[in-house]
C-alpha cells in the first residue's frame, strides 16, 4: 500500500514509455485502431451501451468466481486452481437437477421457478462440499509445506475434476439431452428463464418497449441481481459475523488467531465452503446465461476470475468484485471494438499495466503479515 516519495520518479517514466510502446507499436497489430473505433462509436453510440450491458453480465459471473479465489488466497495464500472446475461442476449439477426433476420439459412457470431454486440450492451445496473436500484431501496436509507443493496439488485436483466433468457429461441416462456424442462435446443448458417468462422460449427483452435497438434480457437482469446480492451478502458476512471476524483474523495472522482460540481448521474449511458455494451458484448463473455445459469451461473461467482477483487486489473481497466487472467490460469492449482474437491479450495487458502502477492491485492486497 505505502509508496515512498522520490525526487524523480524514474520508474514512472519507464512505465509510461512502456505504455506508449504497447499502444503505438503492439496496438495496431492487435487491431487497436483508434480512428476506426471512434467512427464505430459515432456511427452507433447506442451499441456502446449494449456492450456495457454484456460486459456487466459477464463480469458479474467472473466476479462471483473471483470471490472464491480471493477468499482462499487471503486466508492460506494458495491459488486454488481447482476453483474454476468447481464452478464447472456447479453447471453440471444444476443441469442434472433440472433434468431429474423434470423441469427441463416443463412449461409451467411455477414449476420452473421451483426447479431453479432447488437447482441453486443443490449446486451451492455440492460446490461447497466439493471445495471443502478438496481442501481436506489435497491441501490440508500440505499447509506447512513449501508453497509450490499445494499449488501443484491444486493443478492436479483441477485435472481430476475436469475428468469428472468429462465422465459426467457422458451420462445420458441421467440427463437425456446429453445425447450420444460422449462427454467431450459441449452440452446445451436450456434457456429455462426465457421459457419461464415466455411460453415460446424466446429471450425476453426488457427494453423492447423503449424502441431503442438494445437488448437487456431477463437473463441479464437475473444474473446481475443474483451476483450483486451474493456479493453484498458475503461482504456483510465477513464484516459483521463472528465467523467472518475469525476469517479476517486468520487471514491476518494464523498463529495469533490460533492463540486466541480460533479453530483455524474450521475457519479454513468454512472459507472453502463459502467459496465453493459461490462457485456452484455462479455455475447455475452461467448455465442460464450462456446456455452451455462443457467439461472445459472451468479452465478459462478460472483464469479470468483469478486475473480479476489479482486485478482488484488479491485477498480483497471488494477488489475481486471490481476486478470481475472490469474484466467483463474490458472483454466486451475488446470483442466489440477491437478483435475477439486479441481480447485475452488486452485483458492481460491491462493487468500488467495496473500491477506496474499498483503492484497490490486496484484496492490493495489483504493478506496476512508474514510471521
Amino acid at each position: 500500500m505505502e509508496t515512498t516519495k522520490k525526487k524523480f520518479n524514474w520508474r514512472g517514466l519507464g512505465v509510461s514509455l512502456l505504455v506508449l510502446y504497447i499502444v503505438f507499436l503492439i496496438g495496431p497489430i492487435a487491431s487497436l485502431d483508434v480512428p476506426s473505433i471512434v467512427t464505430a462509436i459515432k456511427a452507433n453510440p447506442i451499441q456502446l451501451i449494449q456492450f456495457l450491458i454484456i460486459g456487466i453480465s459477464n463480469g458479474a459471473i467472473i466476479a462471483i468466481i473471483a470471490l472464491g479465489y480471493t477468499m482462499v488466497y487471503g486466508i492460506i495464500e494458495l491459488i486454488n486452481f481447482a476453483h474454476g472446475d468447481v464452478y464447472m461442476i456447479g453447471v453440471f449439477t444444476s443441469l442434472t437437477v433440472l433434468s431429474v426433476t423434470g423441469t427441463l420439459d416443463s412449461k409451467d412457470p411455477v414449476k420452473i421457478a421451483l426447479g431453479l431454486i432447488l437447482a441453486l440450492v443443490v449446486a451451492v451445496v455440492v460446490g461447497a462440499v466439493l471445495n471443502a473436500s478438496i481442501e481436506r484431501l489435497a491441501y490440508r496436509r500440505l499447509r506447512n509445506a513449501p508453497r509450490l507443493a499445494p499449488l501443484i496439488s491444486a493443478i492436479g485436483m483441477s485435472f481430476i475434476i475436469e475428468n469428472l466433468g468429462l465422465m459426467w457429461a457422458a451420462q445420458a441416462w441421467l440427463v437425456p439431452s446429453f445425447g450420444t456424442t460422449g462427454g467431450a462435446s459441449q452440452k446445451v443448458f436450456p434457456d429455462m428463464l426465457s421459457v419461464m417468462f415466455n411460453s415460446l422460449g424466446q429471450d425476453v427483452n426488457l427494453l423492447a418497449s423503449s424502441g431503442l435497438p438494445l437488448r437487456f434480457t431477463i437473463k441479464d437482469l437475473l444474473v446481475i441481481i443474483l451476483a450483486v446480492s451474493l456479493m453484498i451478502g458475503l461482504y456483510l458476512f465477513v464484516q459483521r459475523t463472528t465467523l467472518g471476524k475469525a476469517m479476517r483474523a486468520t487471514a491476518q495472522n494464523r498463529d495469533a488467531a490460533k492463540m486466541l482460540g480460533i479453530d483455524i481448521d474450521w475457519v479454513i474449511t468454512a472459507t472453502f465452503l463459502i467459496g465453493g458455494g459461490l462457485a456452484g451458484a455462479a455455475g447455475l448463473m452461467a448455465g442460464l446465461y450462456n446456455n452451455t455445459a462443457w467439461w472445459f469451461m472451468g479452465f478459462r473461467a478460472g483464469l479470468q476470475s483469478f486475473t480479476a482477483a489479482v486485478l482488484g487486489g488479491i485477498g480483497n473481497i471488494t477488489g475481486a468484485m471490481l476486478g470481475g466487472f472490469l474484466i467483463g467490460l474490458l472483454a466486451s469492449f475488446s470483442d466489440g471494438y477491437l478483435s475477439t482474437r486479441w481480447t485475452n491479450a488486452w485483458v492481460f495487458t491491462v493487468l500488467v499495466l495496473i500491477l506496474l502502477f499498483r503492484p497490490t492491485g486496484l484496492l490493495g492486497e489483504q493478506t496476512g503479515q508474514k510471521a
Binding site: 456492450f51 456424442t181 467431450a184 437488448r215
Partner: protein, 440 residues
C-alpha cells in the same frame, strides 16, 4: 511489495509450465473410454493353412480423442478396426500379422489436439520399426508437425482421413517453399483420401451465393485448417461478387460471443449480414458461437450460417441445441452416405451392424485410409518386396491408381491428393444433418 508481485508472477509462470507439462502425458493414458486398441487380438484359430506369420506389421492412427472431436474420431477408429477385422488382422496371405493402435493426439490440458502430443506421437512412430503406416491426423495443424518427422523416418507413409488444408500437399503461390519445407528429404510421404479446402472453400462461397446472400461475415478459429478454409472462402467470395463485411479470428475458449455477435449484427450498414461463414472445428467452441449468433441475430433462416466439415458432426448440433442449430449448413467432401458406391454402402451396413447407426461423415474416410494402407502392404508383397520396408510401402501408396474403394473409384496424384472432388452440403433439420446437394 514488488517482491510479492514477482512471487505471484513467477507462480503464474510455473503454473503455466506445469499445465503445459501436463499436456505431454502419454496419449495412451486418456479417458476416451471405448478406444481400446485390439493390439493383442491375434488371429489365432482362423489362421490360413499357409505357414505361420513371419512377422508383425503395425499400423497406428493419431487422432484427437479427448475433446469434442471424439464424436467424429471414434467413428474413424471403429471403421479402421472394422477394415482390419475384415482382413482378419493378417496381410499377404497370412504371412504377416497386423497390429493396430489408436493413439490420441489431444490432451486434457487443451481439450483438443495438442502440438506437443502430436509431435510425441510422430517421434514414437518414427522410433518403432514395426510401424509401417501412420494414419492421421484429423487436424491440419497437427499434420504440419508430424509430416516432417515421419518424412525423415524412412519415410514412413502418412495417410490422413480428414486433413483438408491445401498447403499440406499443394504449394501456395503466396507462400513459396512452405509446402516443400514439410518434406525435408524431398520424397512425398503424405497422402489424404479427402478433397482439400481449395475446393471446399470455393464451393462454399458459391453455395452461399446460391442461397441468395449478397453480404457475408467470416469468422475462423485461427488454426491452419479453420483459417485456411476461411481464407479460400473469402478470396472466392470477393471474386464472385459477394460483399465481405469482415473477417476475424475468434478466441476459441471464450465464455460467450455476445459482444462479437452484437458487432456483427450492425456490420451491414446497421443491419445484420445475409450470411456468416465460420471456418472452424467443433472443439473450438463452435456450438457457443452459433448459440450467441442465434440469440443476437435470430434463427438461421434470417441470417444463414455456413461452415466446413469441422462442424458437420452431431456434437455440434447437440452442443447448440436442435432448435438453435436448425437450418445451419455444413459442407463435407464426398457424397452423402446413401449415395456411396456399392462397396461404400456395404461398409455402412457392416459398420451399423457392429457399432449402431452411423451419422458422422468421416467414418468412411477412416475406413478408406485403412483400405489404402492394406492395399499398399499387399501390393508390396505381390511385387515380391518386404512390407516391413517403410519406403516400399510409401511408394506403393503413391502408386495407387483407379482404386476401387468405399468412396468410389479414385487415384492419388503425385502430391498425394485424391481425384475425388465432390462436395456435399448438409443442413440441420430436426436435430440432424440432412444432405441438401452435392457440388463440384
Amino acid at each position: 511489495m514488488t517482491k510479492r508481485l514477482f512471487a505471484l508472477l513467477s507462480v503464474l509462470v510455473v503454473a503455466s509450465l506445469a499445465l503445459a507439462a501436463c499436456g505431454t502425458t502419454p496419449p495412451a493414458a486418456t479417458e476416451a473410454p471405448a478406444t481400446e486398441a485390439p493390439a493383442t487380438q491375434a488371429p489365432a484359430a482362423t489362421e490360413p493353412p499357409a505357414a505361420g506369420p513371419v512377422g508383425t506389421l503395425k499400423i497406428v492412427s493419431s487422432l484427437p480423442m479427448t475433446g469434442s472431436s471424439l464424436t467424429q474420431t471414434q467413428t474413424i477408429v471403429n471403421a479402421m478396426q472394422l477394415r482390419l477385422e475384415q482382413a482378419n488382422y493378417t496381410a499377404c496371405g497370412g504371412k504377416y500379422t497386423l497390429e493396430y493402435e489408436a493413439w490420441d493426439d489431444a490432451s486434457a490440458a487443451l481439450g483438443k489436439w495438442d502440438p506437443a502430443v502430436e509431435t510425441e506421437n510422430a517421434n514414437k512412430a518414427a522410433a518403432d520399426p514395426a510401424i509401417v503406416a501412420y494414419l492421421g491426423t484429423f487436424n491440419s495443424g497437427a499434420a504440419k508437425l508430424s509430416i516432417p518427422i515421419l518424412n525423415q523416418a524412412g519415410p514412413l507413409t502418412m495417410i490422413s482421413p480428414a486433413n483438408t488444408n491445401p498447403g499440406l500437399t499443394k504449394a501456395d503461390k503466396d507462400l513459396p517453399g512452405v509446402t516443400d519445407s514439410y518434406y525435408p528429404t524431398g520424397v512425398r510421404n503424405y497422402s489424404r483420401v479427402v478433397a482439400a479446402d481449395d475446393i471446399q472453400g470455393k464451393v462454399a462461397a458459391n453455395f452461399v451465393k446460391s442461397l441468395g446472400a449478397t453480404t457475408v461475415y467470416i469468422l475462423d478459429d485461427n488454426e491452419l485448417y479453420g483459417k485456411g478454409v476461411a481464407d479460400v472462402f473469402e478470396a472466392t467470395a470477393k471474386e464472385i461478387g459477394l460483399t465481405v463485411l469482415g473477417h476475424e479470428s475468434i478466441d476459441p475458449k471464450a465464455a460467450d460471443y455476445k459482444a462479437l455477435m452484437t458487432k456483427i449484427s450492425t456490420s451491414n450498414n446497421g443491419a445484420a449480414p445475409d450470411a456468416i461463414y465460420v471456418g472452424m472445428v467443433v472443439d473450438n467452441n463452435a456450438s457457443q458461437l452459433l448459440k450467441d449468433k442465434v440469440a443476437i441475430m435470430g434463427d438461421n433462416e434470417k441470417v444463414k450460417y455456413v461452415g466446413p466439415d469441422g462442424i458437420q458432426t452431431q456434437a455440434f448440433i447437440d452442443g447448440a441445441g436442435a432448435d438453435v442449430a436448425e437450418g445451419a449448413y455444413a459442407s463435407v467432401a464426398g457424397v452423402p452416405l446413401d449415395k456411396l458406391p456399392p462397396s461404400g454402402l456395404q461398409f455402412v451396413k457392416d459398420y451399423e451392424a457392429k457399432y449402431g447407426k452411423l451419422t458422422e461423415p468421416y467414418a468412411v474416410y477412416g475406413y478408406e485410409t485403412m483400405n489404402v494402407a492394406l492395399k499398399a502392404i499387399e501390393d508390396v508383397c505381390a511385387a515380391g518386396g518386404d512390407p516391413a520396408d517403410r519406403a516400399a510401402v510409401n511408394t506403393a501408396v503413391f502408386a495407387i491408381k483407379n482404386f476401387d474403394g468405399a468412396l468410389g473409384t479414385w487415384s492419388f496424384d503425385a502430391n498425394g491428393d485424391t481425384s475425388l472432388t465432390d462436395m456435399t452440403f448438409y443442413q440441420v433439420q430436426g436435430g440432424g444433418y440432412v444432405s441438401v446437394g452435392t457440388f463440384k
